[in-house]
Subunit: 258 residues, 2 copies
Amino acid sequence: MKLTQIRNATQLLTFGGKRFLIDPMLAEKGARPGFEGSVRSHIRNPMVALPVDIATLLDVDAIIVTHTHSDHWDDAAVAHVPKAMRIYVQNEPDAQLLHSQGFSNLHILSDSTRFDEVELIKTDCQHGSDAAYAHPQLAARLGESCGVIFRHPAEETLWLAGDSVWTPSIARTLRQFSPGVVILNTGWAHVLEFGPIIFGKEDILRTHQIVPEARIVATHMEALNHCLTTRKELLDYAQDNLIASRVSAPADGESLIF
Amino acid sequence: MKLTQIRNATQLLTFGGKRFLIDPMLAEKGARPGFEGSVRSHIRNPMVALPVDIATLLDVDAIIVTHTHSDHWDDAAVAHVPKAMRIYVQNEPDAQLLHSQGFSNLHILSDSTRFDEVELIKTDCQHGSDAAYAHPQLAARLGESCGVIFRHPAEETLWLAGDSVWTPSIARTLRQFSPGVVILNTGWAHVLEFGPIIFGKEDILRTHQIVPEARIVATHMEALNHCLTTRKELLDYAQDNLIASRVSAPADGESLIF
């Protein structure tokens, strides 16, 4: 497989001969205000530009949208993605949203989705703490999100863990599928009063404890106002904990081959 | 109350008219190797010198030893503390250890200890993750630890939370005693493979969520090889989360009055 970090959670993936675009946020640098009610909301998003042109990103066989927050599926994506593009979404509400935006080739991920030889298995996320989900307005705003297991006879199992905090379900998924490669969204995005809503650097250690042989690719950093973990800080943490050989935090535009 | 940060978890406290020395680590800078099996163990401990002379530290009415790890009660403390000093310890084994070291005025903390007008209530700690305590050798090494609630009619309730990671018990203690001042050991000390064994910066936010009016004093930082949180990083985090007015991270030698 070949994985190219684009920006934030947006990545290009070639897996089992198929080319995927993951979580396209295609806006220009600074196009939107910071997320209201999150830390450092005076900073505009995205904080950095795309490292490649949009046409390159759209030269794929399918798009995966783990959820429809604007840092994973934005107005620019709606404008630029061809309406007939094959798009995988997490559930019926997201399919209805994209349908209303004119997209026609929508597929809802399940625990047994297939795209020819590539198997796509939806996995659970929790996009904030229990306390955050106990707050009705915040719970509605955080909403549902998913991860995806990718399998193919010629590839190691890949897990795109998605926008989640660490939960027992995350640990169960790691034990169940024993992925060889794990993409972790480690930006440690914070909402005010309620803390982290995605993984942070400690979660690379938790992941390593369960799947010590796995390569961990850290992403969803240094592109949005509310993400507090930097790549350098994460890699320093990996080094301090003697797991640096298992952890990557690719720069925007950088590719990894597994 | 007056609280003076000395170094690591060592603090001077005047509370209800009594002067306490908390968790004396009195060694000279660099006297010991880094903790084996912890992160950055090539760094010698303590990383910094005491900011005041030892005689000043021993001009107290009592010493509190939350547990007997060498960063809370060390050979230099054994050598310098007068054998008749009133010392509060967490349990019978620690009392026996200090007795064997020649100390004679030992008091085991309970849920109703009194030192004249000052009430001292022992609280629970968990000095590492569940996974760490599931590992017999590491569990033995981490051992037991405690926190202490200080109460006096003329003072706000103070909680010295102790060497612990965040657990439901920590949240319960906060709810039960609703302290006005909380001392949190936020150095995020890490043992290799098992991660944090004391609080980190996220725990100031968790504490604030439960006791929003409390002043939080962050300590146990920048003195030992395996503590990864710096004061600056912690204070930046407090500022990002808009709780800076509630959080202090005093320099060694700095005093706070509440």
